[in-house]
Amino acid sequence: MRARDGIIGRAIPPAAVFLAAVVVWEIIMRTTGIPVYLLPRPSAVLRSLAVDREALAGSLGWTALAALSGFAASAIAGALLAIGLSASTFLRRAIYPYTLFFQTVPIVAIAPMLLFWFSPGLEPVAVCAFVVSVFPVIANTLDGLLATDPALRDLFRLYGAHPAATMWKLNLPSALPNVFTGLRIAAGLAVIGTVVAEFFVGQIVGKVGLGVRIVSAIKESRTDLAFAAVLLASLLGLAMFGGVNLAAHMALRRWHASEQ
């Protein structure tokens, strides 16, 4: 591997872009005099990250827990559902159209109702994260499962493979790259779903997620704190995305072109 392909070589260009954008933003804010209740200065956001770090860290932890729970539920339920759908054309015709509900439901309208349906706390928030992030897992996993090489399917049949063995040893491994594509999309969506739900949750004692923090900061015209929380939510999504990438790399590096 050449040095410029290494982790540092890959980190420098986006970091430089980020830094440049922040500097330009700061300069524009200072020269044009845009009021900080409309848009905070980057330096103020940084200060808020430092000053409010304890509150923000608590919120980040709470949001991360909810997002990860929803994401894990999406990964497991989405993959299982896709396996079921791939096994039967009838099931696929009957049920697959309804999984689109997860993709098309206006989550902002559903989120407040989730609060009535589930006991206040982690549950409704994680469910919201699940609802917005499960469809990409179902759709991509199903695509992968159905795209198994027909010649290999014949081979498995020739040797009298049990359907479970065909699923476990052929269909699932060959669908794995697609599963990871679904999980990458789901990781970001789970964080969005979590923050949206938190907008409606309001403050539950000791359980203030980033979404709650954002809403209350905006009410107090603390745009610096709101942006700090938004930044953390984005970074959480990025971290989860990175986690999926790492898992994909571990699982696929030996054999799949996408990881070589």
């Binding site: 090489d149 010649a151 290999l152 014949d154 081979l155 498995f156 020739l158 040797y159 009298g160 493979a161 063995a165 040893k169 052929l170 491994p173 060959s174 794995l176 030996r254 054999w255 799949h256 072109a257 070589q260």
Partner: protein, 190 residues
């Protein structure tokens, strides 16, 4: 090629099939690809790995047992595919233009290896090919089918020695057999 051993025990599949392309499982190394049929037939692990190693030896890939398909050349992949078919000790081996996608030199080498494997293992091999050269080199008995209807135009036992190696291809006897197959094909075109 004719020959048959009808005995059947655990881990033996009476028929094995090799596709036009290798169709290996890309996430498995050579050893585990070859072991696949035995695994699906629920042969015990130690036994199936031993049988797989033996078969990999036969096709001359002992050094590549730990490699993955994407680290192999086209000819090597085809040999893995052949080993996977042979690991169950089939009494009938069906090959559908298995070397068609390979370059000529690789192909001739694999033809030779296949002859050797056949002499050693003694299964019946049905080999479909569009190459008269390949047919003449491999076959004990050659059947020529017509283009559209698949009617049998020619069915002949080849008069060539049992031991066949590269130099055979340059002999008049070999050229005669190729010519006979070619003529039969021409007749089938009409």
């Amino acid at each position: 090629m004719l020959n048959a051993d009808e005995s059947e025990k655990a881990g033996q599949s009476p028929i094995a099939y090799v596709f036009q392309d290798a169709h290996l499982l890309p996430w498995r190394n050579v050893l585990n690809n070859v072991a696949l049929p035995l695994e699906l037939m629920r042969v015990e692990r130690g036994e199936r790995l031993e049988a797989s190693r033996r078969t990999i030896d036969l096709v001359g890939l002992a050094d590549a047992a730990d490699r993955y398909p994407n680290q192999l050349s086209g000819g090597m992949r085809m040999r893995v595919s052949l080993a996977r078919a042979m690991v169950t000790e089939p009494s009938l081996l069906l090959l559908d233009e298995p070397f068609a996608a390979l370059d000529e030199i690789t192909r001739e080498r694999l033809d030779e290896q296949l002859r050797q494997l056949w002499s050693a293992a003694g299964m019946t091999v049905v080999f479909v090919t569009h190459s008269t050269n390949e047919a003449a080199f491999l076959a004990q008995r050659a059947i020529v089918l017509s283009k559209r209807s698949g009617r049998i135009i020619e069915d002949r036992m080849l008069e060539l020695p049992a031991q066949r190696t590269g130099p055979l291809r340059a002999t008049p006897g070999f050229a005669g057999e190729v010519r006979a197959l070619y003529d039969a094909l021409e007749r089938g075109e009409r």
